[in-house]
Every structure is written in C-alpha cells, then in structure tokens.
Amino acid sequence: MSPMMTIAKREFRSYFDSPLAYVVMCLSFLALGFMFFVLRGGFWQTDRATVQKVFEFTPWGLSLLVIPVVTMRLVAEERRSGTLEMLITLPVRDSDVIGGKYLGALGLVLVLVAGTAFYPFAMFKMPWHLGPLDMGPVWSGYLGLILFSAAGVAIGLLVSSFVESQAVAFFITFAVLGTLWFLDDLAEVSGQSALGNVLRYVSFQTRLAGFWRGLIDTRDVIYFLSVTAAALVVSFRALERRKWA
C-alpha cells in the first residue's frame, strides 16, 4: 500500500476511534430528516416522485457542520500536538501527507453522502413503493454532491493547513463554505449587475442547481474540480512552507 493510502486509511479509521464520526453522522441524518420531511411542508407537499430535497439540503449540512468538523483537525491538530513532525519525518512526500489526509476525510464525508441514499431507496424501492423514480436526476444529484464534497473537504483541509487551532479552523471553514453556499442569495439581491453575475458564478448553490435537475454541465464539473485542485495545491504549499519559515 502506498504511503498516501496508508495515511488515508489511518485518517479514516481515526474518525471512528472517537465519538466524533458517530455524533456528526447522527446529527446530520437528524437534520436532513427534519428538513426532508418537516421543513416547509416537507417531502409530502411536493407531490412528485422526486428526492431533489435531499440534494438541496445535504450541502447545507455538509457546509455548516460536517465538513468543518471533519476537516478542522486534519493538519491543525497534528501541528499543535507535534505528530506532524513525526509523520513528515517518515519516508513520505508532503503530497502524500496532503493527499492521504484529504482522501481520509473525503472518505468519511462520502460515507455520509452515501447514507442519504437511504431516502430514495426506502421511499421508492423498499419498504415503500411511491412510484417510479426518475433515476437520472438522482445519479446526477449524487455526482454533484460528490463534487461538492470534494471541493468542500479540500477547502477545509486548506484552512486547517494554515492555522494551529482546531476551533479556528472550524469557524473559518464554516464561514468560507457558508459564504460560498449563500452567495447565490446575495446574487439575487444584487440582481443582474456585474457583481451579481460574479457572485452567481462562484456560488456553490448555483453550480449545484443543474445537478439537482439532472443536468450535468461540464463547466460546473470543471469548476468544482478546479476549486478542489487549487485548494489541494495551496494546502501542499502551506505544509511545505514550514521548510522555509
């Protein structure tokens, strides 16, 4: 197994060695259940065979709770406790460390995302059969969630690479992801002005809207992949800057 995968495996398993993963999962599913079934009349008021609400609400939870919690400790805690020095002085590249930590955290977030598949499965396959479900928007919705998670975790890792406190990392990631999500609402206020267009362009919500409807736009895919790659490169540089401090 490559050093990157060994680090990813350790990182992923470490979430389950503490109550963290379990608490985050429980809270996320509770919140999603509330939003799906209760908020604004819930699923039953939609009167259509669709689980679009899952894809609309899951990024909220991911942005405001799951990703900040999962990524806050990635590098910040290791730097604070000194284990980063121990890790980096093993025969690993800095890119292995960043990649491994990223994959470990993304793995946990994707487990949570996969958990949301319970909704379409339970309501349209077993035990309930509420009608034939159009699977196109479901697949594209999940692709959107995966891309969103990839970008969000990379941003969380980036923040964690720059700070030494988990709490600070949590709040900065929370603020950055929250802002990127709600930029769409700000864009609405700004109307069709140049500013509004820019806000709409970078808003995660705008970029995900197409996926909810079953539309996979390569521009959106490339946008999320670009954010992910850029955040990972900057994280790598942030880790590397210790050499030149």
Binding site: M1, P3, T6, I7, R10, S14, D17, S18, S81, G82, T83, E85, M86, I88, T89, L90, P91, V92, R93, R242, K243, W244, A245
Partner: protein, 390 residues
Amino acid sequence: MATDVMIQASSVSKRFGHVRALDKVNFEVKRGEVVGFLGPNGAGKSTTMRILTCYIAPSAGTAKVHGHDVFDEPLAVRQALGYLPQRAPLYTDMNVMEYLKFAAEIRGLDESVFKKRLKTVVEVCGLAQSLGKEIGTLSHGYRQRVGLGQALIHDPPILILDEPTSDLDPNEKAEVLRYIKEIGKDRTILLSTHNLAEVEEACARAIIVSKGRVVADGPLDSITAKTGRVRYVVAIDEKNAELGKKAPGIAEVQSAFGALMGVRSTKELPTDETAHRLELIGPQDTDLRAEIFRLVVQKGWTLLELRRDAQSLDAVFRDLTRGDERADRGDAWAAAHGRARDEDEEGEEDEADEKAAQAAAAEDEDEDDDESDDDDDDDDDAEEQRDRKG
C-alpha cells in the same frame, strides 16, 4: 555507502526571520558512534535535528545523512534513519501495535519482515505488555519506548533522538538510557540532550552547540580539557600552625597562593571556622599540587585538604555556553552571579571558545571560509535560500 561518515553537516545555517538559529554548523558522525548533541535551550539542537531529518530546510550549507543530501534526496534520508522527536508525539488514539504497523507500512515493510522486526523491537524496548494498549493511556516513559520502537522498526543504521529523556522520572530516564546504550551497540546515534550526566553515561563523544554554533566537538575527555583550566581546592587550618608560628589569616593565605607561578585566580570558598578554604584556578598542562604543598610546608601552615579537579563536563558546558545565559538574563544578572567579566577574563574565555570552535572545525577545511564578513554571509544565505526555493 563508500564512506564511513553517516551524518555530515557542512556550514549549515538556518534563519527564522531575522533570528539566526544556526550559524555555519559543521560536524560529522561516523559509523557506530553514539554522539551526544549538547546545548542549552534554544541553542539550535532541535533545529539541527529537524534539518537532518528533512523536516525543515537549511538556509545555507549542506547536510548529508547516509550519503544522501537532505535537500535533494529527502526520502532516501528518511528511509535511512529512525527519528524520535522531542516528547515523542504519537497518535494517542491508536494502540501500540497499530502504531508500529502504521510506521512499518509507511516504510514499506512487508508483513513477514514487520513481524520479525516487531519481535526485536518489543524485546529491546520492553513493549510486550503494552502492545494492545492505547497510546493515550500510556505513561511518558512508555510513550518514549513506543517512539523508540517506531524509530527502530525498519532497523535503520542511523538514529536521531531529540531529548528522549525529557519529562521522564529518574527511573524512566535510566530505562531509556539503557535502551539507547543497548541499541547503540550496532548503530550510529545522535542524541540531543541538555542533561550532561546522560551524555557521560551513554556517549563517547559530544558536540556542544551554543547560540547556533558548534563550540566544542570531540571525545568527552578532550572536551573537558577544552577550557585549559584545572581547579584546585586547598584548606589550611586557621587555628593551628607549626610550633612557634602564627596561624595564617585569609588575606595572607590568599596572597601567598595567588603569587604561586601558574595560579590564575584564587577564591575563598565557604567553610566552617576551623579552616581557610580556597579555590585556585591553574593551567591544564601543569600540576600545581607539589608547588602548593611546598608553599604550605615553607610557611609552616597545617594542610587539611588538597584536591585537583579536572573540569567536569558540566563545568565545561557552563563555560562554553555562558553567553546564552548572559544574553537571556542580562549583564546585571551576570554581575550578580560573579560572571561580570573583566577584560582579562573575557579575553581568556573568548580564546577558549575560539579554541574550542576551531578544534571542532579542524577537520573541515571549509571552515576557513566561514570567518568571512557577516554581511557577506547574510547575502550568501539569502541567495542560497532563493536558489533552493527557485
């Protein structure tokens, strides 16, 4: 590897902003040596170790471990060494077995090799009872053992241990030192510490750093001789003297000894009311005991004690690193502790420091270049750093 030099630092400098943490550090560690790396807090020990383990890059100079440059071949360097950072930072959520396996996997050991090595590591580090325990529940001493275990899991030819006994109680310290001696039988070890007793116990050679510079490097015996001074303790009976002669006063005793050829200084030591007790400082290469004895006989005094102390490593260390303490606490502190140096003494100490530094660098011909102007050095450092970054 063709050469026997396992660790080599050549003019290694490191700057943190405007602070120069290391200033042209030169030393070599050969195969099979256990070397104590000494210095007060903030002298640059950990910085040197972090450079040698490729955690940080030098601002200037080069360092090689097992023949590999720390900047150009970091993976080869890390593969060749086992490193235990200060306070053994470990993943406290893993158990000992998981952690050792994690380190072995990253080092590319396959399962069968790991099992074989695990057996040895468990035996050497005394981890048999702790393998299933979570690291977070272990005492500091056991964590150090686990840290040593991970450093040894791939059977490296070189070990770099940064203050492995800090925060340990005396029993744990003794245990860890015993492990170091045990594993040092067939490995090259660079052991950083500011505990001199540990160095005297575990190492045959020491490198002393102060304010980012190597101020002494060599076998312990030659380091203790580095300052070129020997201390004598003399006690003269202050109540009784030879029949018909008057018991001496302290001023008389002090001036008589001070006038002896070779005695550099005299100082009264605390004692009870029966004796005058003095400390005399003499040169390293001459034994003054006979002269002292003859003087006592000639004066008709009663000699109660005469002792010659070679400078202990502890004293040499304090002597060589005195500037650090002075810089930290200020001249007022130095004056209050009798360390305000008059010009003579200062010259003498500077000479001793210079001698020590020169001796340390004697093997390295490049040292000649190191004496160049500081400003030029700064420019060179900055240029080299830019080059490396580029």
